[in-house]
């Protein structure tokens, strides 16, 4: 780790952001589990992280005046519709069990990112204290 970089925690803060974003989308799916015609959505994590860390070569729509409306944000681009496992009469594609599983897994991933950041903080603290505290 190079301490002179502006972002001390590397990719983990962006990952944390995306996990949080994804949990919001999944919460939405669960809240709309009984809404007729609702299409379940999910975040394409690979694409979203690539965009967030600047690896994608897409060009964002510039807005240089306050009244202008920008293109759909990065988070919107990475949103995709889930392929339903089975059709339903009311056109709803939310499978509560699938969403629950995804939400649980998402929580674990979020905690993993958190613990990476915690480890980084601990390392920095040790460097600051010179291993004394």
């Amino acid at each position: 780790m190079n301490p002179s970089t502006p972002n001390l925690f590397g990719i983990h803060t962006r990952a944390l952001d995306l996990w949080q974003r994804r949990s919001e989308v999944l919460a939405n799916n669960l809240a709309n589990a009984d809404t007729p015609g609702y299409l379940a959505r999910d975040v394409d994590f690979r694409k979203a992280l690539a965009t967030a860390s600047g690896a994608a070569n897409g060009v964002a729509l510039e807005t240089d005046a306050p009244g202008q409306i920008g293109g759909a944000g990065r988070s919107a681009e990475a949103l995709a519709y889930r392929v339903p496992t089975q059709p339903s009469m009311d056109g709803n594609t939310v499978d509560a069990q699938v969403e629950q599983a995804a939400f649980a897994a998402n929580g674990v991933h979020y905690q993993a990112s958190l613990s990476f950041i915690t480890a980084q903080i601990r390392m920095l603290r040790m460097a600051i204290n010179g291993g004394q505290g």
Partner: protein
């Protein structure tokens, strides 16, 4: 967009499901209500859910903002009539008009609503724990 909006989303889901439970309770309570005219008979009620889309939120946030109850609809199923001349509510021909509530439908609806409600509670609990862990970061 913030983690707090998950609470709003899950909260809207809980509100919608409790509306649904309310209509189920009303339907079951009135399952045996009778009236002297077909128009006056109790009709089974059901809430109408719709997803909330936020308009061009900050940073192109297209995730949506939960669920809303658009209204409560009344079932258009036929009203059953029964010949009960002794009933004080009977019309001139001796018929009373019962409600078109199907108790089996209502029970299934009730179980589904309570499961969905629990799902939303779980989402809220997990989010709360994650937020707590984020607050404790670096301790």
């Amino acid at each position: 967009m913030s983690m707090f909006s998950i609470f709003n989303v899950a909260g809207s889901g809980m509100a919608a499901q409790s509306t649904r439970l309310n209509t189920v309770a009303s339907n079951l309570a009135n399952a045996d209500s009778v009236a002297s005219t077909p128009e006056g008979a109790y009709r089974s009620r059901e809430p109408l859910f719709a997803a909330v889309r936020n308009q061009l939120g900050a940073a192109g946030d297209a995730g949506g903002e939960g669920v809303q109850v658009l209204g409560v609809t009344e079932s258009q199923a036929a009203i059953p009539s029964r010949y009960e001349p002794g009933n004080p509510l009977a019309d001139a021909d001796g018929y009373v008009y019962a409600s078109n509530v199907n108790p089996v439908d209502e029970l299934v609806n009730m179980i589904s609503a309570s499961r969905s409600y629990q799902n939303n509670v779980e989402v809220m609990n997990s989010t709360r724990q994650l937020m707590q862990k984020t607050l404790d970061l670096g301790k």
